[in-house]
Symmetry: C2
Subunit: 460 residues, 2 copies
């Protein structure tokens, strides 16, 4: 928070006080918490404590992240919404007139997403596989284990993640700057691209930048933000083939290429857009939705009914595990297809023995079950949240797309209010609090939060 | 088909020729098929053949059922749509001006649903548990077995189902007639109530009948149509307590009562409807949607955004297994809640051993998996069909609600075109064929059809 304060001082903006005071409050409470926290960590956490602390830390971060927004006079609900949307890298915004906001505040929005992004990667690699959340035990590595030697290795891994993340963000800044963005815009958008966050410094979002090269760089870095970060690290260390051998990466890239090409041809034919424009507009927006970045590059919901339905479905997909993306995530679809096909074949030929595989590892029935349970809970959560939002008199398209976009940490919704060209500001306060909950439950992969609602969790 | 022919002759309507000719064609081909079929049955079917024949018989019935509609000059697509919607007891219609149609044709629509209804009950009790479709192995009884003595017992069971079905339908006719319907209306609506089909003889559907007693009888018989038929037979034989002890029945009745009361209060407060009116309107429409009957009793989509979202979600629910209803069905929700709760508790306390139960029987992990796989495939099917319908330029609400209503065999959709006050006639032909497929795949509990798309199913 001190960084945006300095920026605002440099820009002679009185808002620096906001950041200074917020920093002070945050620093004090953070100090207290880390002392308490650190003591617990040294003794080692049991599973239940890990669940509680994981959720607690994601809930408390936005409480402090919201403080600087209060100086805009937007009310506490909106401030918290903007901060939750920031740290969870969702990118739904209640602010408009972005182009005229103090630069410190804009930078703070981008930084929240950037920090949230790296937090998610660390959580997905070090923590969730150990908690066995929705099939993530598939990605258990030594670093998910808990012996003493391993803690040291975790620290080393986190350090590596941090350095690579910083390196890729810097590359993105340079790429944006070199293709015509102002340094400030390049920095902000790089922070929110690599985090697949989607906050922009302009109301028209990415459409502000007309150079096609900028658009294609954004596509590249959104995709990087959606790939498994451990494999990206391997790639940076000179083993790029490991990326390509990963089943998630193949499926993800295949999906993106096929759908983008399809939509580009659709645009070219029905809207008579020149093919190179169509290709960029299609690829950019498809990648933006699938990776859950949420930048708008023209209002794709005006391309016709098929695109609206496609955008809704793609909000559920997400990227690869261990990336900054939200959503269901590719590996769960792969496990789902594999196990259900085997299940159906067993139905037809009950005596045949079949084994289900993911990449080179065999799937246990516990893992398949875990993934299926996750899928149902994910879709069920979106359904129930849709109903909860509709109770605030939101129409069906708004309620459903808001629920899907929040749980998937995508950003924009559908319909005239919260679509890619709109804002979440007009929603009633109650709906905003529901969406805050939705963004957090999505970010924490549903199960991490649901278990806390089971009375038995708290017994003994 | 000869019955409607006689009715039309009696009403001096030239349409009797339609039925006579249709009957002749159907009779001839039916004779050929049953000869071929009967031979196969005597030798006993293996699992694969059962899958094929089950699907085949549901696909071929509407082909013949469509014939009488051709005389209306509505085109083959519309005729098939109406027949598929009939036999699957969906009840979506492309016809309007129902009040002026030949009585024989109206009766044919009702008869299709009535025959479809009893066909579904037989299929769900005798066939599907044996095929282990989406957890239905839970309902395996001796009659699902295949030894010779058992075939005789199946025949006895089917006879019992037939008699009880006829008896309940007759009760419904009498109840409707006694509360003011014309004999013709009473007959038609009784046939489509007990089958939770929803075809009416009036464009305004059930709103034509203003006597509240008629409405409450409809509620009663729709609920009967949604209960497990085997238990209803037990009830008719003097053991009504078996119904009440069934976990499905309890959950279903609980859901209906709670939601109906909630909506009634909502209506009373927000629309200032007198409480007795509100209670009937709410209960009728909730029961109509949950059981997938699909009668309209006033346009409930005009009650506000919360009701629209609620109606969409309830389209997925369905009634009990072994009834005439479609949808996901109550027992799968119960299995889902039970197994996922146990799964989450195992996540928190990995060393605890937990057993999952449904009623008094313990759930195997294969069964839980089966149910979860069904849930995901069901929701995924609705998602993919939504996209397919949107490709025909249907807006999101129309496409999504059409997919949900067709797969769930409910009947009306949402939105201005296909809502409870609308008709499916304006949809493009392609969309109608997709919906025919959707109604069949829903009726056959998804898996029965999906397995046929696996190339390995057809190998060797
Ligand atoms: K996002
Ligand atoms: K129906």
């Amino acid at each position: 928070m001190l960084i945006p304060a300095v920026v605002d001082i440099a820009a002679r903006n009185a808002d620096w006080q906001a950041f200074a005071l917020s920093s002070l409050a945050t620093g004090l409470i953070g100090l207290l918490m880390s002392v308490a926290f650190g003591g617990a960590l040294e003794e080692g956490l049991n599973t239940r404590q890990t669940f509680i602390l994981t959720t607690l830390s994601w809930v408390s971060l936005p409480v402090f992240g919201a403080l600087p927004f209060l100086w805009l006079g937007i009310g506490y609900t909106d401030a918290v919404f903007e901060a939750v949307s920031g740290f969870t890298t969702t990118g739904s915004t209640v602010l408009s007139g972005l182009d005229g906001l103090p630069p410190g505040l804009l930078l703070w929005r981008s930084l929240m997403q950037w920090m949230g992004g790296v937090g998610i990667i660390v959580m997905a690699i070090v923590l969730l596989p150990f908690l066995r959340i929705g099939g993530m035990q598939l990605f258990q590595t030594e670093s998910s284990d808990r012996s003493e030697k391993i803690v040291a290795r975790s620290v080393e891994l986190i350090r590596l993640i941090g350095i690579s993340y910083l390196f890729l963000s810097s590359c993105c800044v340079v790429a944006y700057w070199a293709t015509g963005m102002s340094p400030f815009d390049a920095l902000n958008h790089a922070l929110t691209t690599i985090a697949t966050g989607g906050y922009s410094t302009h109301d028209v979002s990415f459409a502000y930048f007309t150079n096609p090269a900028t658009g294609w760089f954004a596509v590249l870095f959104m995709i990087i933000g959606a790939l498994p970060f451990v494999l990206i690290i391997q790639g940076l260390r000179g083993k790029p083939m490991m990326l390509w051998r990963d089943p998630q990466v193949r499926a993800f890239m295949g999906l993106v290429v096929v759908v983008s090409l399809g939509v580009a041809f659709y645009l070219g034919i029905t809207h008579r857009v020149p093919l190179d424009d169509a290709l960029l507009m299609s690829t950019f927006n498809i990648v933006s939705v699938v990776t859950g970045t949420g930048y708008a590059y023209g209002d794709y919901t005006s391309w016709g009914a098929p695109m609206v339905a496609l955008a809704l479905l793609l909000k559920f997909v997400g990227g690869c595990t261990g990336s900054t993306t939200g959503g269901i995530k590719i590996f769960r679809f792969l496990v789902f297809f594999g196990t259900v096909r085997a299940h159906l074949r067993r139905m037809v030929r009950p005596n045949r023995i079949m084994s289900e595989e993911y990449g080179s590892s065999r799937l246990t029935s516990e893992l398949s079950f875990s993934v299926l349970a996750f899928l149902v809970c994910y879709l069920g959560t979106v359904g129930i949240l849709t109903l909860a939002l509709a109770a605030f008199d939101l129409d069906l398209v708004t309620a459903l797309s808001a629920a899907a976009t929040a749980v998937g940490n995508v950003g924009p919704g559908l319909g005239p209010t919260i679509g890619p060209a709109g804002s979440f500001a007009p929603l009633p306060d109650g709906a905003k609090w529901i969406l805050c909950f939705a963004m957090l439950i999505g970010r924490l992969e549903i199960f991490t939060v649901i278990v806390l609602f089971d009375p038995e969790f708290w017994s003994r």
